[in-house]
């Protein structure tokens, strides 16, 4: 008997391509979401109709997942109770870690779990639901300056351009 997963199409191929995980601990995903945007300051002046919206940079990307772990006898992927413990420990652990999701973080990205909730109910035995919110880790840079030395980048690329220029003369120009 064929299953729905046997029907091939591009979005399903992507979805089945990677197993969602955080800090190497896998979980199943019921639904996922991503939120971001621009940080703005709206300047509104007295006696003027037109405001001025100042761009203050991108909002940090946040990812929300409704995930779950489910008990299945002789589950080849994980043992239900120990996996549940591993997952909440991974979510509570120090520092950033790799978040993998085939759609929202393909190949993995460095993120931190801001908060999560773990819900288990009487009606759903052997099923634990996790509501998780992650935020991209970004880079530790000064708020006032860039961490990369843009002057050095210009100098390096100017050096390379000059080297290329020196090698442009055709071979038959020389005796």
């Amino acid at each position: 008997m064929s299953q729905i997963a046997d029907i091939k199409n591009p979005w399903r191929n992507i979805l089945l391509g990677e197993q969602a995980s955080f800090r190497g601990v896998i979980f199943h995903v019921e639904s996922g979401g991503r939120s971001s945007g621009r940080r703005t300051v709206v300047h509104e002046y007295p006696k003027r109709n037109d405001p001025y919206v100042e761009d203050m940079g991108r909002v940090a990307r946040r990812f929300q997942f409704s995930g779950y772990l489910v008990y299945r006898p002789s589950n080849p992927i994980y043992e239900y109770t120990s996996q549940r413990k591993q997952l909440y420990e991974a979510l509570e652990d120090d520092d950033i870690a790799t978040l993998v999701h085939p759609v929202f973080a393909p190949g993995g990205m460095q993120a931190m779990c801001e908060r999560f909730s773990m819900v288990e109910s009487r009606e759903r035995g052997g099923y634990t639901q996790f509501e998780m919110q992650f935020v991209e880790s970004g880079k530790a840079v000064s708020a006032l300056g860039s961490s990369t030395n843009t002057k050095d980048n210009v100098k390096i690329s100017a050096d390379k351009a000059e080297e290329t220029g020196k090698g442009l003369m055709p071979d038959d120009a020389e005796d």
Binding site: L144, S146, T150, K151, N153, V154, K155, I156, S157, A158, D159, K160, A161, E162, T164, G165, K166, G167, L168, M169, P170, D172, A173, E174, D175
Partner: protein, 224 residues
């Protein structure tokens, strides 16, 4: 050898390049200026042997490097690259020299720009737009010659320069227009706008005010 076939064309291109280059330097540039002029003269009189000896690219680059040390003005180098953009080389060596000149000139201009101090974001944006147009033309010329390496180098250099200028512009104030109900002296304006009278001269200079006691009602100034 193709050098003999291109004698006339090479003579024109190199002399025009060196003419524009020598115009880029002012008379008060000291020892470096003398060295710069000496190098230009040396290339002008010996370019044939330099090309056949394979030293021409190094000599030309050295000339641009000395120009940088001698504090040539950016406007002077703009004339140099504009001149090179207008060249329509036919021979292989001529085309290589034009392309080489463009690469050397734009890299020197980039080195000058990263040492510049800007007062406002508008100044930086003006520079960004100017350089973006210049690099667009240079890349187009490199693409026409099917010179992929030069094209890539110019693309990376342009990207890094624009990135640097964006970085520089971020903490700078914007130029804004202040509309006032009446005409005020520049000292009063400075106090009203910046809460200090120290910047009165800046207002006078920016707005080309004839008498500082009578400023225009609509003045341009930095936002902070």
């Amino acid at each position: 050898m193709s050098l003999n076939k291109e004698v006339v064309e090479l003579n024109g291109i190199i002399n025009r390049l060196l003419d524009n280059l020598s115009l880029s330097i002012t008379s008060q540039t000291g020892r470096e200026g003398v060295e710069f002029r000496h190098q230009i003269g040396n290339i002008r009189s010996n370019y044939n042997s330099m090309i056949s000896g394979g030293t021409f690219p190094t000599e030309l680059l050295s000339c641009f490097q000395t120009a940088l040390i001698a504090n040539v003005k950016l406007a002077g180098l703009f004339v140099v690259h504009q001149g090179l953009f207008q060249e329509v080389p036919v021979g292989k060596i001529s085309a290589a020299i034009v392309q080489m000149g463009i690469l050397f000139c734009l890299s020197t201009e980039s080195r000058i720009i990263i040492t510049m101090n800007f007062d406002s974001r508008d100044d930086v944006e003006l520079m960004m737009n100017q350089m973006r147009d210049v690099f667009d033309i240079a890349r187009l010329l490199a693409a026409d010659l099917s010179d992929t390496t030069s094209y890539q180098r110019l693309t990376v250099l342009a990207g890094n320069l624009i990135s640097h200028l964006s970085d520089v512009s971020r903490p700078l104030p914007r130029m804004v227009t202040f509309t006032l109900a009446a005409s005020f002296p520049s000292l009063t304006l400075s106090q009203r706008i910046y809460y200090t009278a120290d910047r009165a001269d800046e207002i006078v200079a920016e707005n080309k005010i004839i008498h500082p006691a009578f400023c225009k009602r609509e003045i341009r100034g930095l936002s902070g």
